[in-house]
């Protein structure tokens, strides 16, 4: 009986929910399309992306992208802008005539930063909403939990999370990635340590969460390649109150630089504690502190901290003219839509949608196999995260050069090199 009740409520919730979303989406799309049409001019649908904002109103069955983001829960700081970007991009795509002349519907599900919810959400997106491709998840555990489903169903999945395992462990036939994977960020940071700092003895202080320990694993694996020796490694819990104990232990092994791999607030505590202890070795952070929160928390202690980041953080660092144009357009549009500056994660969302749209246009169909083939043929596609080159074996797309090293000076970011 309870089951009947639950089922009933589920149907109610599900249908109601779906209904709501569809209707809002439709309205937005319609209005947007209407506005656009009034602007006139018709373009060839296959060239819509170049055609900019001047295209025919898309018609017919919408093409559904399903997205799983962590809009709530612990990882919401990452997922919030992803959601905002996805919502904006849906409108943008439809304004430009949709894809293949059809409207695009990006259905966004929140996994609450919980991999189990990501499973339910992915099933819903594929079964209920008929998604032709999946975007997400925000966090690596969700992506890894979704991976068997998309692999089983044979639906392309473009993830916005960074763990190496996502594309290192088979199967990867249906999985592509937009952010620089952890190994890439580590490679960028270690390059800086060995080439710019010119030291050999490093210590690692890392958050024991997935982000931090994956960073440590990658550092330990590749340190030797950069002529570096890890002389000490200590971990801490994300909500640790004081890190002077592990730092003191680290100090006793006399490293020449400290690599801190974690997300806030730990790295900020570490920066303050280093100040307190009078440790004046260079502090190299991770892309996990590529946000104002770190500067707010660490205050003066943040000065001089160096970390790897996507070029979106300092748009002036972009040298490739095509990428510059795309990124400038994205920043302007995002600021107009949300009133906020886009962060790295918004960039991941942009790249995910862009790469998929690009592949579908080239494929000319929404058949999964064709999208798969087209994605693998992606070359030189420029977005906020960098220049993407996928192949059958490379589903990461980015290179070390797509990252820059950033230094904190006077409470803001400057290029470190």
């Amino acid at each position: 009986m309870a089951l009947v009740v639950v089922l009933g409520l589920l149907l109610f919730a599900g249908l109601g929910c779906g209904g709501d979303e569809t209707s809002t989406d439709d309205t937005t799309a319609d209005t947007a399309a209407a506005t656009e049409t009034s602007a006139g001019e018709t373009g060839d649908t296959t060239e819509t992306s170049e055609a900019g904002g001047q295209a025919a109103a898309p018609t017919g069955e919408p093409i559904v992208f399903g997205a799983v983001v962590s809009a709530t829960g612990p990882a919401a700081a990452l997922g919030e802008q992803e959601r905002a970007a996805l919502e904006m991009l849906e409108g943008q795509l439809n304004d430009r005539g949709g894809l293949l002349g059809r409207p695009v519907d990006i259905v966004i599900e929140d996994d609450q930063s919980n991999p189990n919810e990501a499973v339910t959400a992915t099933n819903k997106l594929i079964q209920q909403d008929g998604a032709v491709a999946i975007i997400g998840g925000t966090i690596s555990p969700s992506t890894l939990a979704m991976k068997p489903i998309t692999a089983r169903e044979g639906i392309p999945q473009v993830t916005m999370s960074a763990a190496n395992a996502i594309t290192d462990e088979p199967p990867i036939e249906w999985m592509w990635r937009t952010p620089p994977k952890d190994a890439l960020a580590v490679a960028r940071a270690l390059t800086y340590v060995s080439e710019e700092l010119g030291v050999t003895r490093i210590a690692v202080l890392h958050d024991e969460n997935a982000f931090g320990s994956s960073g440590l694993a990658e550092i330990e694996k590749s340190a030797a390649d950069y002529g570096l020796e890890v002389v000490a490694k200590e971990s801490y819990r994300t909500d640790e109150t004081d890190l002077t104990a592990p730092l003191t232990k680290i100090r006793s092994s006399e490293p020449e630089a400290l690599v801190v791999w974690g997300t806030n607030p730990g790295p900020a505590v570490a920066a303050k504690n280093m100040d307190q202890l009078g440790m004046d070795i260079p502090y190299v952070g991770s892309h996990g502190i590529a946000n104002m929160t770190f500067i707010d928390l660490a205050g003066d202690a943040a000065e001089g901290v160096v970390f790897p980041a996507g070029k979106l953080l300092i748009p002036e660092s972009i040298t490739d003219p095509a990428q510059k144009e795309v990124v400038d357009g994205f920043i302007a549009a995002f600021e107009e839509a949300t009133g906020q500056k886009p962060n790295t994660f918004a960039g991941h969302a942009f790249d995910s949608v862009g790469l998929l749209a690009n592949a579908i246009e080239r494929a000319g169909t929404t058949e999964p196999g064709d999208i798969q083939k087209a994605l693998n043929e992606t070359t030189g596609w420029a977005g906020p995260d960098g220049i993407f080159n996928y192949s059958e074996t490379n589903h990461d797309g980015l290179e070390v050069d797509d990252l820059i090293m950033v230094r904190i000076e006077n409470g803001s970011w400057v290029m470190a090199e």
């Binding site: 919401a76 109150t241 004081d242 806030n264 900020a268 307190q276």
Partner: protein, 296 residues
């Protein structure tokens, strides 16, 4: 290990330990009056810190922000007692545990909805270079924490030892019926206790935010560590709570420092919890306490 390093570990332990001690005090207060362990205690610490951050960033001077935060959280504590604890004062231990656990869930989530997820900072009470002893350093804020903790302990000791109400509360905390027979307005005592406990917790939150920052999720771990500290010190004794807190902090930091191999700090918390379990199993009355926690 050099003396300087050893001292540094001791200071690290004292810094964390003083945080635990302050949290433990709140547990002690409520336990003394009601026999209840408030599983939401850590959340009051968190609320204190975040409220102070809000007030301070809203333009209030630090001292005013601190006092305002303590006052606000005290009100929350009083409401908590009236709305959630009062109806269940005569109910089973299990019901009381579940209600405070539920409250901690609710308070934490509410805090997240109000303040968001990012950790927030507060400036140190006195801006000055860290104090240095034989090369080992400790931030001035730790001294603040220790000082206020000492003040609270002294105040509590005076209350329990010198005032009629304090004596009555302490003597018959385990038996509210007897307290009623002795003419003590039991309901009011419990209400005051929750208010006082929330105030102490909030003060702790305000004091530690400059050291360790504060976010909506900080309360859970603080609560657990604070309880471990309270148990170590023997539930019921304010001085014991402080001793337990400092002991726990020292144990943690020395376990990081003394274990010879690298990468042991991940087990720091496990060590703290293991000690909690061992103490509970072997000596539930705590290392310093006398009251029995076990059934016959």
């Amino acid at each position: 290990m050099s003396l300087q390093e050893f001292l540094q570990f001791v200071f690290a332990g004292i810094t964390s330990g003083s945080v635990y001690a302050l949290t433990a005090l709140g547990f002690t207060l409520i336990y003394n009056a009601t026999g209840i362990i408030n599983f939401a205690q850590g959340e009051f610490v968190m609320l204190g810190g975040l409220a102070a951050v809000s007030l301070h960033s809203g333009g209030a001077p630090l001292a005013l922000a601190a006092i305002g935060a303590v006052a606000a959280v005290t009100v929350v504590g009083l409401l908590f007692e009236l709305l959630a604890i009062r109806p269940l004062l005569n109910a089973s231990v299990l019901a009381q545990i579940i209600v405070t656990v539920g409250a901690s869930l609710a308070l934490r989530t509410a805090a997240m909805l109000i303040w968001g997820r990012e950790a927030m900072a507060l400036p140190a009470f006195t801006e000055r270079a860290p104090l240095s002893v034989l090369g080992a350093t400790v931030v001035a804020q730790t001294v603040w924490v220790l000082g206020v903790t000492a003040l609270i302990v002294i105040a509590l000791q005076v209350f329990y030892r010198r005032t009629m109400l304090g004596k009555a509360v302490r003597a018959c905390a385990v038996n509210p019926m007897a307290a009623r027979l002795l003419g003590i307005p039991y309901g009011r005592v419990v209400l005051l206790t929750f208010g006082a406990s929330a105030a102490v917790a909030a003060a702790g939150g305000v004091l530690i935010t400059p050291i360790s920052f504060m976010s909506y999720s900080s309360g859970a771990l603080l609560g657990l560590k604070g309880f471990a500290a309270a148990i170590l010190g023997g539930l019921g004794s304010p001085a014991g709570a402080v001793a337990g807190g400092l002991a726990l902090g020292l144990l943690e930091s020395l376990s990081v420092g003394l274990l010879p191999w690298s990468g042991t700090s991940g087990y720091k918390d496990a060590i703290a919890f293991l000690i909690l379990l061992l103490v509970l199993f072997a000596r539930p009355q705590g290392l310093l306490g006398q009251r029995t926690a076990q059934k016959v």
